[in-house]
Amino acid sequence: MTRSPFQLAMQRLLRNRVAVLGGVLLALVAFACVVVPFLFKLDPNLTQPALRNQPPSARFPFGTDGLGRDLVARVLVGGRTSLLVGLAATAVSVLVGVAYGAIAGFYGGKIDEAMMRLVDFMYGLPYMFLVILIMLMFSETARGDMLPVFLALGLVQWLTMARIVRGQVLALRRQEFVLAAELLGASDARLLIRHVLPNVFGVIMVYATLMVPSVIILESFLSFLGLGVALSWGQLVSDGIAVINPIRSYWWILLWPSSFLGITLISLNFLGDGLRDALDPKGKT
């Protein structure tokens, strides 16, 4: 039986135990964050002054924080934000990066050189500047409105995607099937969308998966600096760091959000690496 390249790739992926483990962990975390708060009607902002700084117990499996808020609810709802920011900002940066890279690679020559020079330049910038400044621009929009975060993070993360897509498109552009379609009179847009881009899909998938963790890290940086807009893991970790002191240890306030954040990020990287090995064997680093 012959298999399509996609099936072969999936087979390679499923044989990679680490990647499968990453995928399973990720699914568990996502399920817990998205579904569990609904099922149990968890409220991350309910304060119970009598129950401040409770260590983990049967009633509060993760303990409570300094205002008596249930950490299970906070970690899961915060995770929803982190995952959503990761996905949405990645979507923005994939759109921008693929469009930019595809145009540069498709037209090549001086256009390519000029476009890529800007990318190289932005690559070397401490992009946190831009993120912080863009976030400030939106700082008085309603708290909890996360669109600015998606935009700010997405708009600084598209560079790698643009570079990779450009390289791929540049190579594909000279392939015979593209030249054949061109000779048949296909327009540039049709060539690019129907013939070139479908062949880059696998690579885009791989790097999008690897981009999600870096976006989540960036968002947690912002939350840590007090520039976040919603309850997220980054904010919970920084709450936990704020109560580090030599006298009394409230380890649970730091432990749970850090572990969830860490497990999610490591799983995403495992999965991304596995996808890369499966879909793009040559791009292995």
Binding site: M128, S139, S220, L225, V237, L265, N269, T285
Partner: protein, 372 residues
């Protein structure tokens, strides 16, 4: 609206430097190099000496610098101006202004304050004032929020702190990453390889403030070996530098590993081995250079990432560096502090990228010969 147009025009102009022919690039790049050096040195050395220095730099640059470097200068100097403009625009778009949360300012008082600090109501006017201040008076201006201090006085003590922390972190990440990566590449598919790549993956995955806070708990609170936070001695700098270095070290380790694996399959390595050279000599003398290439080209982004990370690490470990001033300035809308720190950071990154270019040209002889 017109400001956005200017911005787009500026970006287009930057892109257009790709069309500049090699000879013109050489001339313009060298000219800009001399100009910048002259302007920077004008106050330290006096005008005549600065002119001499600038002309000297132009001449030497035109004659001896690789085209690669001059092309970068031609691109980066206008880019810096554009960055100042873009930063100004973004700051002015942000809600609030430096004088908004002062206790009940009357319009007259606000106007007087705006005049005193040189912060007019429009972004373009501010940009003009700021550029004149920068180029003619050679100052970054007064801080708006910290009374009676100039931005230089604020950044001055913070600059060496940030540079020390950043360069130590970079040094650590390069040495640690290279060591781990080369080891993994040489012992491919062994336990050592898997172990070091797992360490690298964890390092790349965890945000540095998580790593930093865990280190803080273990080394400062449990064992009491290192101070929790602050600045002043080598013991203070250790944890922040490691926290800052680890994510980059992990990326460098992965680059070095794949570089090493690729290089070891090259023909010239087989030749070296066939000559009967000892393996250690083959690795150090022949393979290392090829391994370094991808690592060196990552150093530019790595420097930028180190600075980005340093915002967070400086806050976590209470390090009195420039990152803190930037974050504070951004939150307080202290325009001149934000611009001042931004310029210094961009300047550092630009300088570093130039050094990386030179190192790259030195490592890869093909670039050297085709560059002239």
């Amino acid at each position: 609206m017109i400001e956005a147009l200017i911005l787009v025009f500026g970006v287009a102009l930057l892109g257009a430097t790709a069309w500049c022919p090699p000879r013109a690039t050489r001339a313009l790049g060298a000219l800009l190099l001399g100009l910048v050096l002259g302007i920077v040195l004008r106050f330290a050395l006096g005008i005549p000496a600065a002119i001499v220095c600038g002309m000297l730099a132009s001449g030497l640059g035109f004659r001896f610098f690789p085209l690669l470097v001059l092309r970068r200068v031609l691109f980066l100097v206008p880019a810096l101006v554009l960055l100042i403009y873009a930063t100004t625009l973004l700051m002015y778009r942000a809600p609030g202004n430096p004088f908004a949360n002062e206790r009940a300012t009357t319009p007259q008082v606000e106007a007087a304050l705006r005049a005193q600090y040189g912060v007019p109501k429009s972004a373009s006017a501010f940009f003009q004032i700021y550029m004149r201040r920068l180029l003619v008076e050679g100052t970054l201006g007064p801080s708006i929020k910290v009374q009676g201090r100039t931005v230089e006085e604020l950044i001055g003590p913070a600059f060496p702190v940030s540079v020390a922390l950043g360069s130590l972190a970079l040094l650590l990440s390069v040495s640690f990453g290279l060591g781990l990566g080369i080891l993994a590449g040489l012992r491919r598919n062994t336990a050592i390889d898997h172990l070091s790549m797992t360490i690298a993956l964890v390092g790349v995955s965890l945000p540095n403030f998580v790593l930093g806070s865990v280190a803080m708990i273990i080394f400062s609170l449990w064992f009491r070996w290192l101070p929790v936070a602050g600045w002043g001695s080598l013991r203070h700098v250790l944890m922040p530098a490691v926290a800052l270095a680890l994510p980059n070290a992990a990326i460098i380790a992965r680059l070095a590993r794949s570089g090493m694996i690729e290089v070891l399959q090259q023909d010239y390595i087989r030749t070296a081995r066939a000559k009967g050279l000892p393996e250690s000599w083959v690795v150090v003398r022949h393979a290392l250079r090829g391994t370094l290439m991808p690592v060196v080209s990552f150093l530019g982004p790595a420097a930028a990432a180190t600075m980005t990370g340093s915002f967070v690490v400086e806050v976590l470990f209470a390090v009195p560096g420039m990152g803190q001033w930037f974050v504070k300035g951004a939150i307080n809308r202290d325009y001149s502090v934000v611009l001042g720190t931004a310029i210094v950071y961009f300047g550092l990154v630009i300088l570093f990228n130039l050094l990386v270019d030179l190192a790259y040209a030195w490592l890869d002889p093909r670039l050297r010969s085709s560059g002239t």
